[in-house]
């Protein structure tokens, strides 16, 4: 589903975020990207959804080299990817329903599809009864669930999560991980950057460890270390 071949990314002559990174992620796999802050986890995710382009090497997603993809095709690539962030990136002036519907609306889904799909995904994340609330009326965990609902409402092939439990307490974080695990069980590939040791050790999924932009470990059913 995702393949990186000798990918190097620098932000300046002095800062190399990623150095010669190569790995494959199979369809339906759940992968943790671990490592300290600044190790290159977020850069990897940004390369996968073409928010960044590498200096050298290739990034393949669903069989296509996305570095060679023309700019006008990138939105269609992103429709097959959901993005989850540590700070949720919810629109504060829109309700829960509107936040999730927004993801469908901007890709031109008709109103009747939106009316059908949004309540279904809100039920899936356990917020079926809070669709009229605004983000500030929700807890951090609930806001992250809205973010997951928005990322998953279009049934993407891949879910990219950048520290989704970073702002949450352990119990709430656990709930979020259960939700991501359920989504992964539907066949969606999940790539998640984290430095939450407890979660990684509990889930026992594939772990790719980075250190100063270099992949130092790639272990199936791994732990944090």
């Amino acid at each position: 589903m995702i393949r990186l071949e000798n990918v190097t990314k620098s932000y300046s002559t002095e800062v190399t975020a990623l150095r010669d990174a190569s790995f494959d992620v199979a369809k339906g796999e759940f992968v943790f990207l671990v490592g300290p802050s600044g190790s290159g986890k977020s850069t990897l995710l940004r390369l996968m959804n073409r928010q960044e382009r590498p200096e050298s090497g290739d990034v393949w997603v669903a069989g296509r080299n996305i570095n060679e993809m023309p700019d006008n095709k990138v939105p269609y690539l992103r429709r097959n990817m959901g993005n989850i962030f540590q700070d949720y990136k919810l629109l504060l002036n829109r309700t829960v329903f509107e936040n999730v519907a927004f993801a469908l609306e901007v890709i031109g889904r008709p109103a009747h599809v939106i009316r059908q799909q949004v309540p279904a995904v809100l039920d899936l994340v356990g917020l079926g009864d809070k669709e009229d609330r605004f983000p500030h009326q929700l807890s951090g965990g609930e806001q992250q669930r809205v973010s997951i609902a928005r990322a998953f409402v279009n049934r993407p092939l891949i879910l990219l999560a950048d520290e989704p439990t970073g702002n949450l307490d352990p119990a709430t974080g656990e709930g979020i991980m259960k939700l991501l695990d359920r989504i992964n069980a539907t066949g969606t590939t999940v790539v998640m950057a984290t430095h939450d040791q407890r979660i990684v050790n509990q889930m026992r999924k594939r772990v790719i460890q980075l250190d100063r932009g270099v992949i130092v470990r790639d272990q199936s059913r791994g732990v944090y270390e």
Binding site: N49, R50, Q51, D71, N72, V74, P75, Y76, L77, R78, R79, M81, N83, K89, L91, F102, A103, E105, V106, I107, G108, R109, P110, A111, R150, N154
Partner: protein, 299 residues
Amino acid sequence: MISRVRYVLREMWASMSRNKTLTAATVITSTVSLLLFGLTLLIQRGFDNQLEQWSGGVEMIVYVNNGADPSQVQVIQQELLRNTTVVASAEYCDEACATKVAQTIYAGDPDTLQRLLPKIPSYFKVVPVDKSNSDLLRSLKDSFRGLPKVYDVSTPDQAVEVLGQLQGFFGVRTLFIAVGLLGASALLIWNTIRTAMFARRREIEVMKLVGATNWFIRLPFMLEGLVQGIAGAVLGGLLMLFVNNDWTNGVRAFPAETGLEGFVVTDGYPMWVWGAMILVGALVGAIGSGTAASKFLDV
């Protein structure tokens, strides 16, 4: 399709309502610049009308010396009408008639009238057959000047020349100002759209991440600029019609002898100008917002 149209209109309206002050400033600037643009076209048209009227209705005034007796006036008239292939008519206006005309023209300026009245000469109003042949008119003027008891001969060619110069002077300058203001409008629209995009950067970021195309994101902003340009043109057009109406009433209140009625622009031309203003307003709005939306939206 309908949902997309609804989305674009809704977002455009939301953005305009969010930046009310900036939107108002942009529309006002567009209004003023397009008003000036429209008035420039009307001024040009007024000068064209007046020039056409003056050069088309060209006539010579042959002034007769004060104190010329009727027989001497008769001689002048015979001389003027001697060559009917050149002169179409020669109508005499005696001192009483000339005084009456002066009283009408200078009705609002009694001081000048008082200075002129004692020495107002009688005159012949001569209409040449071929009004377009300026060489012939000049030679006629010279030959009439040599007639006995003729004080002077005047033709409107000097006035036409002055009017042409005035047209060039005002036309070019008002056009430059209008173009400058249109540029300012485009920049203001550009800035409004940039501000609107900055205010909604979080939404734009989410839109890009969920796969909205750049055109889909741009469209409400571009439409916003377009609407601001058109709104400025519509308001500017209304103001232009008001100014033109006021001008028309003012000019029509002048005495007919002043010959300024050519400056009145009617015959549907102001509506045509309004249409041109809307087109230019839309163009300025589209260029301003289109460049801003493209510049600040990377994949």
